[in-house]
Every structure is written in structure tokens, then in C-alpha cells.
């Protein structure tokens, strides 16, 4: 059996002393005997730790703990407070953001919005309005020049009123 196999077996056994074959090898191989010595040293150290007794809980440990748990479950913790405040802050921010987005998304004209400053046409802007008038009431589709625009300006102003 090779040294590696012997060592594997020793580690596998850990607590035991090995088979006759292993023991025989240990008497003939100084390196493996050293390995086994180390194993026993480590094992002895671990056993010492195992025998070491943990400290006892101080008197009334469980009672104090239960009282502490009781207080913790009654009083809202600082974390809870910040969680509540934080949640409100997040809600408020969301509402404000939604309103801001709504304001940006709404068309600047049209029935949803009602009349705005943009609806009050300045004389210079009338040309484009008149040109796109689908009813052709202004009669300017064929010759879109500036002259009739001036004429139609009062009509728009009346509409505003």
C-alpha cells in the first residue's frame, strides 16, 4: 500500500487506529508515522476544546430575554418610525411626479385643456390658422396671403369673448 493511501485511510478512520496493514506500515515508514502523530495531536487538541464547558447563562437570562422581547413587540421601534415616515415620503413623491407628468402630457389646446393664451391668436399667426381652416369659411384656401388674415382677426377675438 502506498503512503498516500495509508494517509487517506488514517484520515477516514480518524478516531480508530487502522487495520493491521496500516499499523504495520506505520512501523516501517517514518513519514507516515509522523503524519499519524500529527493526527493524534490535532485530535487531542479538538478533544480538549470539546471538553471545555461553555459558560452558564447568568441568573434570569431567559426571563430578561422574554421581558426584552415583550418591550420590543409593544413599542414601535425607531426603524418602524423611519419606515412609516419614509413610506409617506415615497407616496408624496410619487403623487407629485404623477401630477407633473400629467401636466406635461396634456395637450396645450383642445377640449381637455380649455382655452389658453395660445388660443388667442395674434394677427401675425392667423395665416396658418386660416390656411388650415377645413370649413373654408374664410375663403382663403385658394390664395393664402396675408390680407384676409387681418380681416378674420376680429372673428377669432369674438370667439374668445
Amino acid at each position: 500500500m502506498r503512503c498516500n493511501d495509508i494517509r487517506e485511510r488514517l484520515v477516514d478512520l480518524w478516531e480508530g487506529e487502522g487495520t493491521v496493514e496500516v499499523r504495520q506500515h506505520l512501523t516501517q515508514c517514518a513519514a507516515c508515522a509522523g503524519y499519524y502523530r500529527d493526527l493524534r495531536l490535532v485530535r487531542a487538541g479538538l478533544r480538549l476544546w470539546k471538553r471545555e464547558e461553555a459558560p452558564e447563562p447568568t441568573l434570569g437570562f431567559a426571563g430578561r430575554l422574554v421581558r426584552q422581547l415583550g418591550e420590543m413587540s409593544k413599542a414601535p421601534s425607531v426603524a418602524d418610525f423611519f419606515e412609516q415616515v419614509g413610506r409617506r415620503f415615497v407616496y408624496a413623491t410619487l403623487v407629485l411626479t404623477f401630477l407633473a407628468l400629467l401636466a406635461l402630457a396634456l395637450p396645450s389646446t383642445g377640449p381637455v385643456r380649455g382655452l389658453s393664451a395660445a388660443d388667442i391668436q395674434m394677427p401675425g399667426q392667423e395665416a396658418s390658422l386660416a390656411y388650415s381652416d377645413p370649413m373654408g369659411e374664410t375663403g382663403l384656401q385658394e390664395s393664402p396671403d396675408l390680407a384676409p388674415v387681418e380681416a378674420s382677426a376680429p372673428a377669432v377675438t369674438n370667439e374668445v369673448k
Binding site: R7, V11, D12, W14, Y35, R37, D38, L39, R40, L41, V42, A44, G45, L46, R47, L48, W49, K50, R51, E52, E53, A54, P55, E56, P57, T58, F61, A62, G63, L65, V66, R67, Q68, L69, G70, M72, S73
Partner: protein
């Protein structure tokens, strides 16, 4: 047997009440499991002064998480899992540096200690020898990767079975066996390597 059945039923009652937020019902659970938790913490952290504080934190954590306990494993195993994780969180933050007494011994004293550890039961070693040996093992444990160390400590110091360790660490029993073998082997290799490194430093 009947008594043990009644105890289990009683424990289930306490757990169910604690799950409904009754700290009073958690008290008997603390009473029952505190020796195990204290022992586990002490062996994992190996610092006497920290044990009670850590145990307290572990029980508080367990109470807060008790609704997640689903009775699949035993309550002791579930609690051991919380304790193991908590201790390792603590250790990650507080790596204690210790003096390596073993390497400060003369070569003759080292050989004497080795011979004593071989020929005598550990408790016959004198106090100084015990301190040295424990320190040596502590050093070797500290060098081991965290996952291997957990298994080694649960097995060697807490006497948990492979199956119990598998449950605590959420591993397969075969994985635990393989890692245990590897961890033991690594300790021996580390010791050998360390001895080589410190040959010139022995006083």
C-alpha cells in the same frame, strides 16, 4: 417515550404561541435550548466573554423569525442553523488575533507535548500543555476555509451526526462527509507546512 412525546407536543404548543407573537411562550423554549446554544456559540467563537451576548442576539433573531419555522426540521436544528450563521457573521467582523504559543516552544518541548498527547489521555496533560494544544488547534481551525471549519466544529466539538450537520447547513450528507474528510486532511497538511515554516523560529 410517552414523556418525550408529551414534551414534543408541549414544545409545539410553545412554538405556535410564539409564532402568534407571544414572548411569554418563547421563554420555555429559551430555557430548554439555552445549554445547546451556549455550547454551540462557545465552541464556534471560542471567546467566553462574548457567549451570553451572542446567545441573546440569537434568541432575539429566532423569535423574530419564528413565523418562518415550518416544523420540517426539529426546532433545535433550526435554532442551531440561526446560531451557526450568527456566530459566523460575528467572526467575520471580529477576527481575533492570537499568539501562537506552540511555535514559541522549544523543539524539545514540542516533542514532549506531542509524545504526551499521544501517550496520555488529553486530560492528563498539564495546564500549560493543554493551553498550547488548544491554541494550536485554534490556529489550525482559523486557517481552514469557513465552510470546512463549520463542519469540523459541529462534528468534533458539538458531536452532531453527519445527517444533523447536513440539515443545519442545508447540504447533502455526502457533501458533509467529503468536506469533513477534506477539512481534517487540510488541518494535518497545515500543521506540517506550519511546522516547516516555523522550524527556525522555535526557541
Amino acid at each position: 417515550m410517552e414523556n418525550s412525546g408529551a414534551q414534543v407536543a408541549q414544545e409545539i404548543q410553545w412554538i405556535k404561541r410564539a409564532q402568534q407573537g407571544e414572548p411569554e411562550a418563547f421563554g420555555p423554549l429559551v430555557q430548554k435550548h439555552q445549554p445547546r446554544v451556549f455550547s454551540l456559540v462557545y465552541h464556534l467563537v471560542r471567546r467566553r466573554d462574548e457567549v451570553e451576548d451572542l446567545a441573546q442576539e440569537i434568541f432575539i433573531k429566532a423569535f423574530r423569525a419564528i413565523r418562518s419555522y415550518n416544523f420540517q426540521s426539529s426546532f433545535a436544528t433550526w435554532l442551531s442553523r440561526i446560531a451557526t450563521n450568527h456566530c459566523y457573521d460575528f467572526l467575520r467582523h471580529e477576527r481575533a488575533s492570537r499568539v501562537s504559543f506552540y511555535w514559541q516552544m522549544g523543539e524539545n518541548s514540542q516533542q514532549e507535548l506531542e509524545a504526551n498527547a499521544e501517550s496520555q489521555p488529553e486530560h492528563v496533560l498539564d495546564h500549560e500543555e493543554q493551553t498550547v494544544l488548544k491554541d494550536l488547534v485554534t490556529k489550525l481551525l482559523d486557517r481552514a476555509p469557513e465552510n470546512d471549519r463549520k463542519i469540523l466544529l459541529l462534528k468534533e466539538l458539538q458531536d452532531y451526526s453527519v445527517e444533523e450537520i447536513a440539515e443545519i447547513l442545508n447540504l447533502k450528507p455526502t457533501t458533509v462527509k467529503v468536506r469533513l474528510h477534506r477539512a481534517r486532511k487540510r488541518m494535518l497538511e497545515d500543521l506540517r507546512q506550519w511546522r516547516e515554516e516555523n522550524k527556525g523560529h522555535a526557541v
